[in-house]
């Protein structure tokens, strides 16, 4: 499937200490929640940022998507807190 880029924003980015990672694509059937759980398993800042998925929102290829959405053939996933613009 090639690489999958994961970008982080706000306190998710700060807790992880990076603004993006590139991982092997987990396959089209994996959900956003699966990806979040896999990353949280890295421990440290990842566990801190991603341990409680109720606090997280996500996008697949720049479109908001619920965490139970399958990643499909996406090239970029974003993980972030609820937005607070305006």
């Amino acid at each position: 499937m090639g690489p999958l880029t994961i970008v982080y924003f706000a306190w998710v980015r700060e807790a992880i200490g990076r603004d993006q990672d590139v991982v092997d694509h987990p396959g089209p059937g994996a959900t956003l929640a699966d990806l979040v759980a896999m990353l949280a398993g890295r421990g440290g800042g990842y566990a801190q940022a991603l341990g409680d998925s109720a606090r997280l929102r996500a996008a697949i290829d720049q479109q908001f998507a619920p965490l139970d959405t399958m990643i499909g053939d996406a090239r970029e996933v974003a993980i972030f807190p609820p937005v607070t613009g305006g």
């Binding site: 924003f9 479109q63 974003a78 937005v83 613009g85 305006g86």
Partner: protein
């Protein structure tokens, strides 16, 4: 006329209004959001998702133009460090009908508050920092437009 901008620099609300007024409609509505300096706040830092933000803003402007008879829309959101008194966000709408201008302006600012991919970090005078939490009230207002 359709204008969507995400930018660190300040904008000229008067120039935006003048452009909307020149479209020949009967009414121009606007909303400008300003940084409040309460509780010892010394600055806000506005973060965006660059690949997504402007595209999503353009999409919601298209939605508004499909829903109301609008002659023009201008939406601007600033990013980066903003101090109290600074403008954060501007929405301006022009229409032949004042109700369309007023309602679409409210719709767009509600969306900007609840669905645009921006995040605010607060810096206080005692050195504390805090990411602003989303308000369920804002979500409820945005959902109310989905009738």
């Amino acid at each position: 006329m359709k204008r969507v901008a995400v930018q660190p620099q300040d904008f000229d609300a008067a120039a935006e209004l003048a452009a909307l007024e020149a479209l020949g409609g009967g009414g121009v509505a606007s909303f400008t959001g300003i940084v409040r300096g309460e509780g010892g706040l010394v600055a806000l830092e506005l973060e965006q998702y660059p690949a997504m933000t402007q595209a999503q803003m353009a999409r919601i402007v298209d939605d508004a133009m499909a829903r109301w008879p609008l002659l023009g829309v201008s939406v601007i959101h600033r990013v980066g460090r903003l101090e109290p008194g600074a403008r954060i966000v501007f929405v301006g709408t022009a229409s032949r009908h004042r109700t369309a201008a007023l309602e679409s302006c409210a719709f767009l600012i509600d969306w900007m508050k609840s669905d645009a991919p921006f995040w605010k970090k607060e810096y206080f005078d005692d050195g504390r920092t805090a990411w602003v939490a989303a308000r369920s009230e804002d979500d409820a207002r945005a959902r109310a437009w989905q009738r």
